[in-house]
Amino acid sequence: MQFDWPILSVLIWLPIVGGLVTLALGERRIALGRWVALVTTAVTFGISTLLYTNFDMSTAQMQFVEQLRWIPAFNALYALGVDGISMPLVILTTFITPLVVVAAWNTIQNRPAQYFASFLILEGLMVGVFAALDALLFYVFWEAMLIPMFIIIGVWGGPRRVYATIKFFLYTFLGSVLMLVSLIYLYLQACEAGQCTYLIADFHRLPLGLNEQILIFIAFFLAFAVKVPMWPVHTWLPDAHVEAPTGGSVILAAIMLKMGGYGFLRFSLPITPDASATLDWLVIALSLIAVVYIGYVALVQHDMKKLIAYSSVAHMGFVTLGSFLAFELLRTHGDVRGAAMGIDGAMVQMISHGLVSGALFFCVGVLYDRVHSREISAYGGVVNKMPIFAAFAVLFAMANSGLPATSGFVGEFLVILASFRADFWYAFLAGLTLILSASYTLWLVKRVIFGAVANEQVAALKDVNAREFFVLGVLAVGVLLLGVWPAPLLDVMRPTIENLVQHITVSKL
């Protein structure tokens, strides 16, 4: 059932307005500002669940569509809508943000009002990225989103925050500028074809030659690969994570990385299917490198956040692998079922990684707030002092290792099943994650959580308070629920993904 009020606009603008209100209240009325931030994000989440409950699971069409004229000179439209791919990501965004607010409740001492405001505005912009149907609108949200994140790392970050923010900004900006060029080119092509709009759906139908497609593909690829991030354009991520405050790391890992995966599914696959089919070997190779190479790199990190950041790169490798397996399966093996399974796996992996990596960064935040160190060697035997925290940490570590009955298993399982259909060796290399992810994650657990109390700071630790318990508990429920019963998520996505597979089966040449 659709609504007679613009639900997606509300989801975008409500948090932005809430953020501005928090900002206006200022640092002196922060007690009120906090509550504004919390209520706004909680209400936003509440409203976003209506997207799920009212979602029509029988169609691949965009739903809850809004369309207004925006910039008539360019025929740009303020067009919003969600389908089975974007809707879960919107809900992931609205789900994680209130948790970030709760986690930061009174741990941020320096300009808390501005901190909360940044996250609220960021939330609105991120929802905008997933909901935009117009490519120009998408691009505006995409770039605008960088600003609050830039500020979050730059103001509340660690000692090397300037290096990290510049690196983060330049990396992501480099990719996205080329994306803008492609979008303009696509717009001009659309005009020639008589459909003079920036609507992404029109781009999907645009006939394009192979050379054009390859150039456009490369431009998109740079933008999205940096965001995912794929090897070898991943090196901004560990630095950004290490320097970012807890909330920044959580949003970065849980949501912003998903924009890359989303971009591939929304732009690269359907707009340039033939280029994707031509260059899929490259993406698959880079994905497998991410899984194996980064797995080894994660093993030797000394910094907890860096380790989790590298683990993110490895896990996101499954997203790109699952998405691009489709072409090899379709065009080489004629295997439509396997193709959709790979994309299913990629989507589930994105949602799961959002929960798990977010939770892991929260866990590091809990420890960092107490000890003010991210070094693994500064810890040891935390379980003796923080048994409840340790239980959560072990749960999330297991989810990160892809243990069945946690969400981490579902996506990887589907992608491995699909990759076996394409090539035994893909499955073999991807399957190594079973060993590698368990190695680096559980070794981390061994050194930080288990053992005898390592030093006085650990001896002085206090277990999680009610606020932290709530955040970790909510995420734990999500991780387990999605692991034990992922069917509802798959059901929502099915028509859209089947439609996508249908679409990319047909060559544009």
Partner: protein, 657 residues
Amino acid sequence: MIRQSVLLTIVLAPLIAAILAGVFGRFIGRRGAHTVTIAGVAISFVLSAWVLKLLLVDGAPPVNEAVYTWLVSDNIRMEVGFLVDRLTALMMVVVTFVSLCVHVYTIGYMHDDPGYQRFFSYISLFTFSMLMLVMANNFMQLFFGWEAVGLVSYLLIGFWYTRPSAIFANLKAFLVNRVGDFGFLLGIAGVVYFTGSLDYQTVFEQRELIAANTMQIIPGIEWQAITVICILLFIGAMGKSAQVPLHVWLPDSMEGPTPISALIHAATMVTAGIFMVARMSPLFELSEVALSTVLVVGATTAFFMGLLGMVNNDIKRVVAYSTLSQLGYMTVALGVSAYSAAIFHLMTHAFFKALLFLAAGSVIIGMHHEQDMRKMGGLKKYMPITYWTALIGALALVAFPGTSGFFSKDAIIAATAAASIPGATYAYWCVLLGVFVTAFYTFRLIFMTFEGPERFRTDAHGHHDSHTPHESPWVVTVPLIVLAVPSLVIGWLTVQPVLFGDYFGTAIFVEAAHDTVARVAETFHGPGAFSLHALLTVPFWLMVAGVATAWVFYVKKPELPSQIAARLGPLYKLLENKFYFDELYQAVFARGSRRLGSVLWRAGDVALIDGAIVNGSAHVVGWFSGVLRRLQSGYLYHYAFAMIIGLSALLAWYVLR
């Protein structure tokens, strides 16, 4: 008819108990925790026994039905569901029975431990996971249970998390198991690829389809798809059931509290691999190569791991090596297609090995947490119940005619003798000589612990210790007695139907050409005759020789072992160092991986990508701007000079063109 609600109660009762004891342990206290978990597993046990009775006596049809749909991806429906036939029901009864005994025993063993509630929560969670594993009707759920028991094993080996050795052992156990699971998952992926289903029934119906396919894993070499898949699945079994070369985690798992060594690392979890292969018998039967692989791996484990038990002095580790060896026997049975013998040995072994472990635990309590057998001796007098029950367990382990272990192990040896697939001769010698080895290390344990002089009275410094060992409380000895009964008689009672009768029905499939059990059955004329006949066979005399040797070495002439050890220098050292597997793995996999990770990180990420490309391009831009900046010095005469040069160059170009 077996109702689904009954099956759900069987699995959920321990789960709910585990949650109550784990999450609300502080509120319900110690008594509450053990009451609720024991009640949970008792419910499971009673209902499992009832299900077995329904299947066996009342002739209820096997259950195969879904509980709920886990997910649907591309018409492949992945479900959580139950397949309960006689094979499953047997496993359910064994698992819940041993688990119940261990729950009761734990009250005594963990009496003073601060982690009391947590421990009960874990063992109930384990019972749930193991039941999910054996009751699965599809590969996905099998893998769920498979990994879940691995998780609980990880948590329990590291139960005393302040001990460095415990948290090393649990990480090692999990990672080695993950290597097996890696193969297992690829095997499952292969099954899905060829059959488009995860459901056992559907897959088995299409097994000929898999058999008709080949795969090129290394380009140019065609392999039977069924062989590849079966070997991959078996790699999973090798991890879980600790077969060479993935056996290294099991001895170290003894770092965990003794009750779980009995429950998880002897009776149930480690037999999951055996169960899985038996369950997959319709697939394995199609590939003789896979069966030969299974056979050779099992035989190697059975003999060579037994050898290690002969030199170890830690009472639990000796039993652990014995477990490895016995798992090898079961695997050999699988390899010669004697699946029913494998499951039969699994069952008898569950009883007598759990008994031996719990008896060892009782000794450890009596000795105030001393595990070194060199500091024991003469305990017979102080711990009579433990002694007699341990002796029963030992007799069953060495296959003394009439005991439960005799029927199952003799059947395996006979089936191996009757087998004709490649590797059978090697396997036969391994299992045959293994009998001597088993008898030797088992009675070495008995003699060193219970007989001979009382070595515990003098500690390392030579002065006398005041405490005297004492018999354990009833919560410890009652489970021993309860387990001793089936260890003694279950073989006699059930060998006819389970091994040679039609107990398993369609649950296990054997090709007529491989049917070694049928060949053994021709010579079987009732358990009494079978036992009497054994007195004339080689295995019996090897067993007697093993016991006698142990007696000479450890009772008659205790100085002999060290003399022989000195004489056999290198060989003894090889055994004492467990064939150097740990050192090899530590060097190659643990250190090698860290070194590789360091190189990839420092050379790849830090030096090449960040150093050369990312910061390098920033430096190039910086350098270039520096050059440009120098040109803009602000001095008028510099600019004038540049203009003059420019002008002359332009003019020159015009003129000379």
